[in-house]
């Protein structure tokens, strides 16, 4: 079949246009919220601080914005109070159900058309009694491996996301954790071919496990947009470096064969027994 040169050219022109909205290097340094975890129905006050050294910053033009987790669209939470190079705001993120809020600081500068954005931080509204690792903030995005203070093989930011998003399903939490561990080992682990392949096989088992759990929890075939493995993957690949690492491995897998569980027992690929978990 033939290439459609006109369509191809149109597509490439579009990507050229996307480039006009190029991201501007940030001069806004945000710190993890204090505290970064509160509990449902609590009225805990959270303090968010940013450092802006650029003297051209407009003090009244520094805002805290909240990012919608699905659409990515921002909502202004409020204006941050200046104190020299430090900008502060306090919030009370109260919800009746667990949630993970993502915030960035948006700052205006004299003579600069576009506002600058900080990297994101999160505040978790956790189920009562659940202890989460602290939000690593921008430091958690600085390296391929990120930060894992708990030593569980799951990055702190991903562990927080799993605990909050799947608070009502122990099976899904366990499956998502298995997959996150597999991805972390794959992305940040050794790159020799043998280890990498073993890590991919572990990842595929985790995908099978989550496919089974989604099927049982959902009661049928889950739409791709609701696949738990895909949601975890999105959280895991939250920087260009991490995405690059994953897709480079993916490229090398072309020509591989991957079986599913013996007899189609996908649940047996879980490293726990789904039947013993309550929900």
């Amino acid at each position: 079949m033939k290439v459609k040169p006109l369509i191809l050219a149109s597509a490439l022109l579009v990507i050229g246009a996307v480039g006009l909205y190029a991201f501007q290097a940030t001069t806004v340094t945000i710190s993890p919220a204090m505290p970064s975890t509160v509990y449902v129905n609590s009225t805990t006050t959270v303090t968010i601080t940013a450092q802006i050294a650029d003297p051209l910053v407009i003090p009244s033009g520094v805002n805290l914005i909240q990012i919608d987790p699905v659409t990515g669209s921002p909502t202004v939470v409020g204006s941050m109070s200046p104190n020299s190079q430090t900008f502060t705001i306090t919030i009370q993120p109260a919800t009746p159900v667990p949630a993970l809020f993502s915030y960035q600081v948006s700052a205006a500068f004299k003579g600069v058309l576009r506002r600058s954005l900080s990297l994101p931080i999160t505040v978790a509204v956790a189920p009562a009694g659940i202890i989460l690792p602290p939000d690593p903030g921008p430091a958690g995005m600085a390296t391929l491996a990120g930060i894992d203070t708990t030593g569980t093989g799951v990055r702190d930011d991903v562990a927080r996301w799993i605990a909050v998003n799947f608070y009502n399903s122990a099976k899904t939490r366990a499956g998502a954790t298995q997959y996150a561990q597999a991805l972390q080992a794959l992305i940040a682990g050794p790159r020799d071919a043998k280890t990498q392949l073993l890590n991919v096989e572990t990842e595929m088992k985790a995908v099978d496990c989550l496919t089974y759990i989604d099927y049982t929890v959902y009661g049928g075939i889950v739409p791709s947009s609701q696949d738990t493995y895909a949601k975890v993957l999105t959280q895991q690949l939250n920087t260009a470096q991490r995405a690059q690492a994953y897709y480079a491995i993916d490229q090398q897998l072309s020509g591989s064969f991957f079986g599913d569980a013996p007899g189609g027992q996908l649940g047996s690929e879980c490293n726990f027994n789904p039947a013993t978990l309550p929900n």
Binding site: A11, L12, A17, F23, V207, T234, A240, D250, Q251, F257
Partner: protein
């Protein structure tokens, strides 16, 4: 035009990139291998998930007709696409590189779109479209991936396995080429084409293409032949590009679509050989035990043969002869000593003995006998269950033979040397002539039915023993009965139940049911053993068949029979 230049440069670079391939293979052999050949725009995780969903859907539609290990799914993964120029690209990687070069802010939303273009912003979808169309013009002859797939198929064919390839999108180009190169016997290799960009299906197989799938833009592609009504937002006509791309999705559009999904699953199932789907077949051995009912039968794993002992004869005589089934004939053995009467028996794999609890008198102590492959030996434990109406099954997970004494609802365990009565928190109500077998995959002893839940009313309940207590299953199942045959099929991984009597001295049954650990399903066949009660039934591990022998088929003429039936895939029958 800056973007175009960057993309073209990146693609040229990729054309000269050396592949440091670390390919793997975790596919398990099975009589029927079902391959999933993924299309473009899939990561390995996405392709694995799609295959898993296909597996679940096929098995759900198949029900218990095919043993779980009779078919095995395998992903033939392909993540690189060949361009007209001869270069190979990995689309997500190239999109990521291009976006970085262009300085596009790589938010988590943008990054997630790279791996799932169906949900991507329009500009990414445009690039994806261009890639689909350029990648569809392929020269696969020298591709290592194609060679790997051909080698895999060749290995299966050499081993006598049936191959079914469910190919999505570009996967069709690979399987078409592989089929041409291998020239298999058509009956051994079937292709189920989904959303194919090609203009034919290898072997003349069926295809499914949805109206308004973006793949229909490919010149010469197979014509669309399906349209779903349960996937709104998918497959809208142009210029709805998002809908056209969504339409191409294997799982969200094709597999769950009310028309396309049924078509694809039916095509796969029709390609699965009927020979691996179990049926009842009567055997006519040259020698056979005489007519009888309530014989004891168990498979001797240590000696790989089926053992049958005793039973009740047609003139009310008590039999105590010993026979073995070798897959074709019954052969009588003549041990020096034998139990006087039969009773339930089970193979104790921990001690490599068949244990039989011989009921010498009603309500008297039972005798315990062991079979070692050639000799019956009576052992004398300190305590024994009473000669009640009871059944037995070996609990392999816990290494104990479980005996449930129906009249007094007692539970006893045999550990190889001692009988111990246990007192679980709950027990089935007292009963007799019930069926009991061990469900190895779920590690439970399953008890079904028996007599009587009131005057002339048989039990229709299912109870599960987990090593410590009995739990009544909420599942409904076969009509109430007594004297049913029961056996665990270790290949099918289900318990099979046959026949029995619906009422005391009443209607005889000839139905077949399967228990999968949570529910009963009736299996319907055109050929069945005659309705009967108190037949002997056990699973022959050596030949992978359920064996049914004898029983009582009526009250007037030839009420007691000695026919032999096997239930299993016709390849084993």
């Amino acid at each position: 035009m800056r973007g175009r230049g960057v993309i073209m440069l990146l693609w040229l670079i990729s054309a000269t990139r050396l592949r440091a391939q670390s390919t793997g293979d975790t596919c398990l052999p099975a009589p029927t291998a079902i391959y999933f050949g993924n299309g473009v725009l899939n990561t390995h995780a996405e392709a694995e998930s799609a295959m898993g969903k296909l597996d679940l859907a096929v098995r759900a539609k198949l029900g218990p007709l095919v043993g779980p290990t009779s078919i095995q799914f395998c992903l033939a993964y392909d993540s690189e696409y060949q361009l007209v120029s001869g270069g190979l690209i990995n689309l997500p990687l190239q999109l990521l590189d291009a976006l970085e070069q262009e300085g596009v802010e790589l938010t988590s939303q943008v990054l997630s779109s790279i791996g799932n273009v169906a949900f991507a912003p329009p500009e990414l979808q445009d690039i994806a479209l261009a890639s689909i169309e350029s990648a569809s013009t392929v020269n696969l002859a020298l591709r290592p991936d194609l060679q790997a797939q051909e080698a895999h198929y060749k290995q299966d064919l050499s081993a006598g396995r049936k191959i079914i390839v469910v190919a999505h999108s570009q996967g069709n180009l690979y399987v078409n080429q592989a089929y041409t190169d291998l020239a298999p016997t058509p009956a051994d290799f079937d292709v189920v084409a989904v959303a194919s960009p090609a203009d034919y299906v290898a072997g003349g197989g069926p295809w499914t293409t949805l109206r308004n799938d973006i793949i229909t833009l490919v010149p010469g592609a197979l014509l669309n032949n399906e349209f779903n009504t349960n996937t709104p937002g998918y497959c809208n006509p142009p210029p709805d590009l998002t809908s056209e791309i969504n339409c191409h999705s294997f799982t969200d559009s094709y597999l769950v679509g009310n028309d396309s999904g049924d078509r694809i699953l039916s095509e796969i199932i029709s390609d699965i050989p009927k020979s691996i789907q179990p049926t009842w077949t009567e055997r006519f051995p040259g020698s056979s035990p005489g007519p009888r009912f309530s014989s004891a039968m168990a498979f001797d794993e240590a000696h790989n043969e089926m053992l049958l002992f005793g039973g009740g004869g047609p003139i009310s005589n008590v039999l105590n002869d010993t026979w073995i089934w070798n897959g074709a004939n019954w052969n009588q053995l003549h041990p020096t000593t034998s139990p006087a009467v039969s009773g339930p028996m089970a193979y104790d794999s921990l001690h490599d003995r068949i244990v039989m609890s011989s009921r010498v008198s009603l309500f008297g102590a039972t005798q315990t006998w062991l079979w070692d492959g050639s000799t019956w030996t009576q052992v004398f434990p300190a305590t024994s269950p009473l000669g009640d109406v009871y059944a037995m099954a070996y609990d392999r997970a816990r290494g104990k033979t479980v005996l449930f004494g129906g009249g007094f609802a007692q539970t006893w365990l045999w550990d190889g040397s001692t009988w111990t009565q246990v007192f679980p928190a709950t027990s089935p109500p007292a009963r007799f002539d019930f069926a009991m077998a061990y469900d190895a995959i779920h590690q439970t002893v399953v008890l079904f039915g028996g007599c009587c839940n009131g005057p002339d009313v048989s039990w229709a309940d299912t109870w599960l023993w987990d090593g410590s207590t009995w739990t009544k299953s909420a599942a409904s199942g076969p009509p109430g009965r007594q004297g049913a045959g029961i056996a665990y099929d270790s290949v099918l991984q289900e318990i099979i139940l046959f026949g029995g009597s619906a009422l005391l001295n009443g209607d005889l049954l000839g139905d077949t049911w399967a228990w999968n650990g949570s529910m009963w399903t009736q299996l319907l066949y055109s050929t069945n053993p005659a309705p009967r009660v108190d037949s002997a039934m056990a699973y022959d591990e050596a030949h992978q068949q359920v064996i049914l022998f004898g029983g009582q088929v009526g009250n007037v003429s030839t009420p007691i029979v000695n026919d032999t039936w096997v239930w299993g895939p016709s390849t084993t029958n």
